[in-house]
Symmetry: C2
Subunit: 395 residues, 2 copies
Amino acid sequence: MNFSKRVLNMQASPIRKLIPYAEKAKKAGKKVLHLNIGQPDIETPKAFFNYIENNKSEVVAYTHSAGLFELREAFSNYYNKHDIPFTPEEIIVTNGGSEAIIFALGAIADPGDEIIVIEPFYANYKGFAEMMNVKLVPVRALPETGYAVPAMEEFEKVVTNKTKGIIFSNPSNPTGAVYSEEELRRIVDFAKKYDLFIISDEVYREFTFDGTKHISTMRFEEYDRTIVVDSISKRYSACGARVGVFATKNKDLYNQVMKMAQSRLCPPMMAQLGTIGLLEMDDSYIDEVYKEYDKRRLAVYEELSKIEGAVFQKPKGAFYVSVKLPIDNSEEFVKWVLTEFSIDNTTVMVAPLTGFYATPNSGEQEIRIAYVLDSEKLKFATYILAEAVKAYNNR
Amino acid sequence: MNFSKRVLNMQASPIRKLIPYAEKAKKAGKKVLHLNIGQPDIETPKAFFNYIENNKSEVVAYTHSAGLFELREAFSNYYNKHDIPFTPEEIIVTNGGSEAIIFALGAIADPGDEIIVIEPFYANYKGFAEMMNVKLVPVRALPETGYAVPAMEEFEKVVTNKTKGIIFSNPSNPTGAVYSEEELRRIVDFAKKYDLFIISDEVYREFTFDGTKHISTMRFEEYDRTIVVDSISKRYSACGARVGVFATKNKDLYNQVMKMAQSRLCPPMMAQLGTIGLLEMDDSYIDEVYKEYDKRRLAVYEELSKIEGAVFQKPKGAFYVSVKLPIDNSEEFVKWVLTEFSIDNTTVMVAPLTGFYATPNSGEQEIRIAYVLDSEKLKFATYILAEAVKAYNNR
């Protein structure tokens, strides 16, 4: 049928492709606790809907290609509160963080060019890179170090004259790692040395725990090749809104990306309005959400600690934890749990980490847990997982 | 600063780049009648807002990557009414028609591959093609023929072993042409001969006049390489919603495109809800809108007919008309009108057609008028244009 190589090379969503096994379990009458996908169960603030209701216009017209100015102002205020010095003119509102990453890759890399990525990484980076014909070159973070930024020698080993940038998420999806100022400084110094762009995906900015403070890559503002990718999806439990941000202080880069933004006309207007409502809220909502995730994190951590042979560190951020389990094949394990294992007629679905690696045959002992259920359910789900590990190894 | 070649090759929006001249005119106290952009002034139906209000959920969650099933069902019903046999499983809801075109190009063409396009064409095709590193190869439609589909020899001249598809809009933006069954059959036969995909952009489906009936490329359903691109933007005056459609009966192609759709997660949820409301309306709204555009079309036609030396045919569809004027440089002309010409302190802005061509130095005598103002304003605007042509040539 000669489709393009780029689309044939794309993998099916590693998170979504196991859904048929969960459906099978449900058909067999079992309850499935879903820890596999980063879709929070938390209510979207009413401010989202109220702002739309009170500010809708008679014609749902194109907005500015960079997004409504009022929204960019609201984002700018939000960033300034977080010591990130973006003005409205340095922000482009995008169709979710997804489009911001596509724009970033498109502007800095041509087909065949390379982007260094810290792996394991947000699985969809792969899809975006294939779509834009850019090659992701991984450097490996390890469960034993809590998935800290790898030593710079690892970066030096893979950099070539085709390398155009570095991409990572901080706080990290899927690992829950939060990078220190020192780790970020090393990345920035490396980027400076080779004139690389940095794509810093900071969508979980608010979710850092145990006194860890999130540091934006914009802390190193003097380096003018930094792109911040952002999204309201997780912060405000508004994944379906599709409002993200591409931001940079680099005026030339901004102007280049605006050409892509103009060709697709504008981001969705209703969601842009709703987001103004979200950004104008005080901090009480985010404080509550933060407490809830922290409670869940501790619940998962406590139960995971009971699994003999599990390798992980207490997650410091986002709402994920990646764990190395004493299993032989994480994808087979996840399928097996869904089809063969249950306690009180309940089973659990987690994400095998294989899809979060660019290096083939990696992550075969690792899984990701998204703590998107309340802590009682989470404890039970993690207990089921712990028992499943034993049963899987004795099967 | 080494940005990517693909982004450096992208042109600034040909429609938006002249806006500074319009702003200058406004600063000088002049009124500017905007016929340059396809942003209708018509009200978006209340059904859009009402459906959102009555069906919003507590969590604005990710929807299915192909869009809400209920929405795909509503689209399917709409298509069936138009004798286009798409089922919900053959539809992917996209971020406007823009994303549908990006998906289509991405799935059928690799970097360096070629897509034949009938020119002049919707200017943003160029941006999407550059972004995906695909080469647009033009065949020329002429004002003298009402921009009819060129003779097939023209297509034969440009087809190579890198040609993967043909793209066109029908009804046509920017020309207002509507293709006959015979013209479409020729395109389909040509595609069959060379195994090419067809990207049929049908966003102006409802707007065909003088008894001309729109025929979808799906009339030739037996050819399994057809992609229909659609959008609610113009039909329901909901450009800012960003709801489009990628549809195909080709199951393999659908599955390939779904991988791209999954990586960007989903289209915007609020707009998807609103669109269900739009599609469930009866035909009275669209009938009214149709009558209004027809009235405008006739008003523009009448005034244009008074311009000596203008070459055009009565437009048959969409809400545009492209005209060859007795001028030397359409871009200079548009700038000149904005800065130097007015009647009753009012001037007019149209789009030079240069940006709608892939062939360099083309469209230098042509402009596009979007009839997106009421007919009285339109008549006056077209009168200003007619007088401006004389004054420009006598300057």
